[in-house]
């Protein structure tokens, strides 16, 4: 059953056609792995799916409804992780995370109740906190712990290394639930152990019925992920002429 769908998407950036005629279907609990050369439009596609970028053509549907009809509801159901970590240097790790989490309080993602699969089946590694048991602050601490930031919780953002900042950005995914995760090179700067934690977080999210779309160059353990290569979708070498 398809939950999230893109139909015939065209992307044009700076006068250049990046990709054209891209379609995909993603069920609840599904994963999509975007691959493609530099400049093939992975980041643009993720920004488009998040609602930051308007497609030049085609439609993006959630549960059969175009997401453009209610951008607020779409934003509430997704987590987007871009190249930038959105970490404020003068706020502590916990303050940084609490701000983003508190903005989402009350606007619960719909992905929490999935269809069928259980956390134990897919989780594999570390257990991901179960939302129903933990309160808001408990979930926040659990998110920090999951990415091994518990000891750094009171450290100012400016003192973090690039990998630690990335982990803090990833902790946002767990601090508040959202049905759809859009991850752009999530493993950049992460050490081996942290990549494992990321994979476990994604597995737990999927087990709870959440969907994920990942663009990555590094190996990331994503069982039964649907591959989507953007290389084949590059338009012919000459861009569409204006007339």
């Amino acid at each position: 059953m398809t939950l999230f769908e893109g139909r015939n998407l065209d992307c044009r950036r700076g006068g250049r056609d990046v990709f054209a005629g891209l379609s995909f279907e993603l069920p609840a609990g599904g994963a999509l792995l975007l691959t493609g050369a530099n400049g093939s439009g992975k980041s643009s596609l993720l920004r488009m799916l998040a609602g930051l970028l308007r497609p030049a053509g085609g439609a993006i549907l959630w549960d059969g409804q175009p997401v453009g009809e209610d951008p607020g509801a779409h934003a509430a159901r997704l987590h987007y992780l871009g190249h930038l970590d959105a970490v404020k240097p003068v706020l502590s790790v916990r303050e940084n995370l609490r701000f983003w989490a508190s903005l989402r309080e009350g606007a619960e993602g719909q992905g929490a109740e999935g269809d069928g699969a259980t956390a134990e089946d897919a989780g594999g590694g570390e257990a991901v906190p179960d939302d129903s048991v933990l309160g808001e602050s408990g979930r926040l601490e659990a998110a920090l712990d999951h990415f091994a930031l518990g000891d750094l919780a009171d450290v100012a953002g400016r003192l973090l290394s690039a990998g630690q900042r990335r982990r803090l950005a990833l902790a946002r995914l767990l601090a508040q639930p959202a049905a759809l995760w859009l991850l752009d090179e999530p493993s950049v700067g992460l050490d081996h152990a942290s990549v494992g934690r990321l994979a476990a977080a994604i597995a737990g999210h999927r087990a709870r019925g959440g969907s994920v779309i990942v663009a990555t160059h590094t190996a990331l353990d994503l069982p039964d992920a649907l591959p989507l290569s953007l290389d084949a979708l590059a338009p012919p070498p000459l861009p569409e002429m204006i007339w």
């Binding site: 930051l52 871009g82 190249h83 983003w100 989402r104 606007a107």
Partner: protein
């Protein structure tokens, strides 16, 4: 409403942790104003006459100086796109950021205004009206400024561009603000000017968040 408070609280906390930025505007306000006696001479009568105008113009320039950093840090570190993708409507987030900007820029200017009134030998009769007018007028400056700051994100020479876009739009609050103070000083009623300033504030409360949010959306595209 809750989201608005969260955004204001976060921006206030950021501003307080980097308090140098907040002090800069007030410092500029006082320093620039003290140039005028050197320019026009220290005669009390002259200074008294130009006091309301000088205080307003200098306040306006101080706000202008602080505008560039309103969205720039959030734009550069990715916070702005996260804010856009939060369930909070972007217009509300903009309003929160503007409110925090006013609290850290406009309010300190109002607090420093009596000092300048003293230095310029302004009649005490006008002081209350001056403060009241600034209370209504400086939020207008922050609101209009937010539109300019949002429009120039990512532009070449963005910082130089903001004054060109924003200063013409600052003329109405300047006129009504100075008008209120001068009316009070000359024994007339300041009511019409203050009412107009209030009306301007209401209009800008409606227009500026919409325009600034639209500008931010296109800046992030």
């Amino acid at each position: 409403m809750k989201g608005l408070v969260i955004v204001i609280g976060r921006d206030l906390r950021l501003a307080l942790r980097q308090s140098a930025d907040a002090w800069l505007a007030v410092l500029f306000f006082v320093l620039t104003a003290t140039l005028f006696p050197f320019g026009v001479g220290p005669e009390a009568a002259t200074l008294r006459q130009i006091a309301p105008g000088v205080i307003w113009v200098v306040a306006l320039l101080a706000v202008l100086l602080s505008l560039e950093r309103l969205f720039l840090a959030d734009f550069e570190d990715g916070s702005l796109e996260q804010l856009l993708l939060s369930p909070l409507p972007l217009e509300v987030a903009v309003l929160g950021k503007v409110a925090a900007h006013w609290l850290t820029t406009g309010l300190p200017l109002i607090a420093a205004a009596p000092l300048l009134a003293l230095l310029f030998h302004m009649e005490p009769a006008g002081l209350l009206t001056l403060l009241l007018a600034m209370l209504l007028g400086t939020p207008v400056l922050s609101l209009i400024g937010a539109v300019g700051a949002a429009l120039t994100l990512g532009a070449r020479r963005g910082g130089v561009l903001i004054p060109l876009l924003v200063l013409p739009l600052y003329i109405p609050p300047l006129i009504f603000g100075v008008g209120a103070t001068e009316s009070a000083l000359s024994g007339l009623s300041a009511r019409p000017d203050l009412l107009l300033l209030g009306a301007l504030l209401l209009v800008m409360l409606l227009v500026a968040p919409l325009a600034a949010a639209a500008a931010l959306r296109q800046a992030l595209e």
